[in-house]
Symmetry: C2
Amino acid sequence: MTPVRSRRQPALPFRRAAATRRSTGSAVVTLDTLHDHLGYFVRRLQVWIFQDFIRTLKRVELSPAQFSVLVVINANRGLSQAELAATLGIERARLARLLHRLQRRGLMQRLKSPADGRRHALQLTGEGRALLARAKALAVRHERRLSAKLGADRYHMLLAALHEVLVD
Amino acid sequence: MTPVRSRRQPALPFRRAAATRRSTGSAVVTLDTLHDHLGYFVRRLQVWIFQDFIRTLKRVELSPAQFSVLVVINANRGLSQAELAATLGIERARLARLLHRLQRRGLMQRLKSPADGRRHALQLTGEGRALLARAKALAVRHERRLSAKLGADRYHMLLAALHEVLVD
DNA sequence: CGCTTATTGTTGTCCTGGACAACAATTGCG
DNA sequence: CGCAATTGTTGTCCAGGACAACAATAAGCG
């Protein structure tokens, strides 16, 4: 039940000598208690992932957020913005501006829902689907690089664990 | 090896019925290939962690970045800003402004390094150490909540895995 | 020693993103 | 009908990442 300080790790500050070794050689900086904060490492990993993702999808000029938006619209044609925002955990306000840019690029359309005058039925254009196909192929490459960084075993373990926790 | 099964678009994959169920009841939105992207889940987890961390440390008014800065300074007295920035993966420019605020709050000091006139030797003030102590106690509570959300087993697994990957 | 290069901290600027409020149009429902 | 809720939109504020420029200082090298 005690989250910090599992039984696997001997009490505490002994191995804490496991500090970050700088490239300068002898200089050593201790992370101290940050070692016991999962959020710190999750953030570091997330930064790495985003940087690699952006670099890999440079050719199609899609940010992680834009990519996820296109994927979900493509898989759920006619989706409303509120549903999309709730699904991806994006704010409605931000999604509106995000879609505006994608629409100006000719990647998707907002159709007025015949049943509900407030809703926009979202769908990709042909161009959007074509770009998304290219983007998905690049995203696979990114994912492979991530798997290589983590090690295939750890990669699958993490994916399974987070899937189990976050997919309701 | 292949992390993503690139499939065409049969719109609704079979087992992909593991879609997000909206509170509205019947409406189901598919994440499609996002299920195969670790970055998506890492980001969702990171958002959750930061929100809980900020809420938990509300009393001491410390952001995750500020907290990490104080922890590392406290554990490495006399550190320079460049070293601190490199350790935490923060940009020098951003760290300068960040420290400015912490200094105005009286939590830390920049002392001129006697050996090197360019460097600032960073150290916490008494007030800073006191606040950090309170913050650490709160951070432990946050960590417990995170462990509860993930499940203690998964929590320790994730921490060990990321530690192994990201601590060089 | 002098000259050039590197490092350190700082400031400015641009842009993305999260958070929140307000609003018009539309729908749902008592 | 009349009022509350929903949807999409816009405005604003602020944290944060990225990048350039700069002065002060140090280090390397002839």
